[in-house]
């Protein structure tokens, strides 16, 4: 049975992470999720809004929640953990009636703020189950050694996010194992990459993201797999910057998990968006042999 969700793409999905957006939409279609864009959605304000004022942040979020409340859906999903944290934190704060009132005044309309809000990863794992997804993997990624990188906020703070373990999350590990990849233990799976300081403090980012790349390489990974557009951009697009700053020479492809699920279910082409990755994954995928993912560029 198809499940219907209101889809909140997030701004990065229109630009720097368009392959995450397109592969997520395609993956959901393949796996029986109907995603309906929240019509005319606006930016949730991301880190800058909550760093400036919680009322402003919640009011920007609330416009999207209010629009979604008029849709015939069972909840809201977003691929982006940063949007997710903002959406869920604002909803959580609106449990306090006084704050809820203030938000409605600033928003200029009523909002219930009671729809379930989840990551696409969460509904995939909870609505479909790992076993079922394993059955769909007709082109398993045998031989691909990966580390799963959740980033810092996918599961934090735990009483707001309410999904998986905040210190040792397993959803991506299980999913990647189910599609045939070899998942290596990764101590830095929830460490921060410094994305929010990407433009302003490259020294901080080079150190934090550099640590993630170093650890992935030391673990023997061929690639990093992530569910966060900010982490992906930091580790992939900035990989050359980071190498330069740290004197390292990593060439680690950084996949979105949705891209790998598409490959493992035998899907290819533009929607998967492998050509959008800055560190090219093609020679790695070709080295896996003919059965794995059947990849061509």
């Amino acid at each position: 049975m198809s499940r219907r969700y209101a889809y909140y793409p997030g701004c990065s999905g229109q630009g720097t992470s368009r392959e995450y957006d397109s592969s997520t939409r395609a993956m959901c279609q393949e796996l029986g999720f109907e995603l309906i864009d929240i019509p005319d959605w606006n930016c949730c304000g991301s880190t800058p809004a909550h760093a400036v004022d919680h009322l402003l942040s919640a009011s920007l979020v609330a416009r999207n929640l209010a629009i979604a409340e008029d849709m015939d859906v069972e909840g809201i999903v977003t691929p982006c953990p940063s949007c997710l944290k903002n959406l869920k934190t604002s909803q959580h704060r609106m449990l306090r009636p006084e704050f809820h009132q203030e938000v409605q005044r600033v928003l200029g309309r009523a909002v219930r703020a009671d729809l379930p809000i989840k990551s696409v990863l969460q509904v995939l794992v909870e609505d479909r189950g790992i076993g079922w997804i394993a059955q769909q993997a007709t082109a398993p990624l045998t031989g691909l050694k990966v580390v799963p990188y959740y980033g810092c906020i996918m599961n934090r703070p735990p009483d707001v996010m309410r999904f998986d373990d905040p210190e040792n999350p397993m959803a991506l590990d299980n999913l990647l194992t189910a599609i045939g990849a070899e998942v290596l233990p990764f101590a830095l799976k929830t460490d921060c990459c410094g994305a929010s300081l990407g433009t302003t403090r490259r020294d901080v980012v080079a150190r934090l993201s550099g640590r993630v790349l170093d650890a992935a390489a030391a673990a023997g990974a061929d690639a990093i797999v992530t569910a966060c557009p900010l982490c992906q951009m930091n580790l992939d697009m900035r990989q050359a910057q980071i190498n330069k700053a740290n004197g390292s020479s990593h060439r680690l492809p950084v996949f979105y998990y949705s891209q790998l699920i598409m490959l493992a279910t035998g899907q290819q082409g533009e929607r998967v968006g492998l050509d959008k990755l800055c560190v090219s994954p093609f020679s790695l995928l070709e080295s896996l042999g003919p059965q794995a993912g059947e990849v061509r560029s």
Binding site: C11, Q14, G15, T16, S17, R18, D40, W41, N42, C43, G45, S46, T47, P48, A49, H50, A51, V52, D53, H54, L55, L56, S59, L60, R63, K85, E102, R105, V106, L107, G108, C152, I153, R156, P157, P158, P166, E167, T190, D191, C192, G194, A195, S196, L197, G198, T199, T200, R201, D203, V204, R207, L208, M237, R238, A240, Q241, D275, K276, C278
Partner: protein
Amino acid sequence: MPATTLTNSYDAAFVAEVRRESEQNLALCYQCGNCTAGCPVSFAYDFPVNQIMYLVQTGRKMEALTSHAIWLCASCETCTTRCPNDIDVARVMDVLRHMARRENLVAEHSIHAFWNSFLSSVERYGRVFELGLMASYIGKTGRVLTDADLAPVALRKGKLTFKPHDIHGVAEVRDIFKRYREHRS
């Protein structure tokens, strides 16, 4: 840290304000240092996050609000997740930024300028327009070379758009900013 000066005398109003805005009981902090142990940006902080908590507990407003740490905090929520007393430490950091901003005590101008540029983009178009955001940030800080090396890559990969992603309801978003400012003034 310097010995007693005028700036580090106890400011009770400040303590009450942080407590009210963050909805956290700061007195619960017993300085175990767990927050700092897990803080990824600690190496760049002037005061580690447990010391920021101490500055707040002891009412040392100026030192807390003029610190660089509150701006460098990456909002990663590790401290909040690991505090044994369930203090939402990341929220306290957020609230200190709010206060520093209101009182014109911002220590990290480029980060502040970037956030302002980001929010102007949201106010103007309803969504973030990366190219416009970078142009505005460069205009505010003069940091022309910031990420200039990424532009050709982003362009080649079709990840930079030259047209703002404006939305139909942009007037509604502008009204949110307008009413928020009225509410806060």
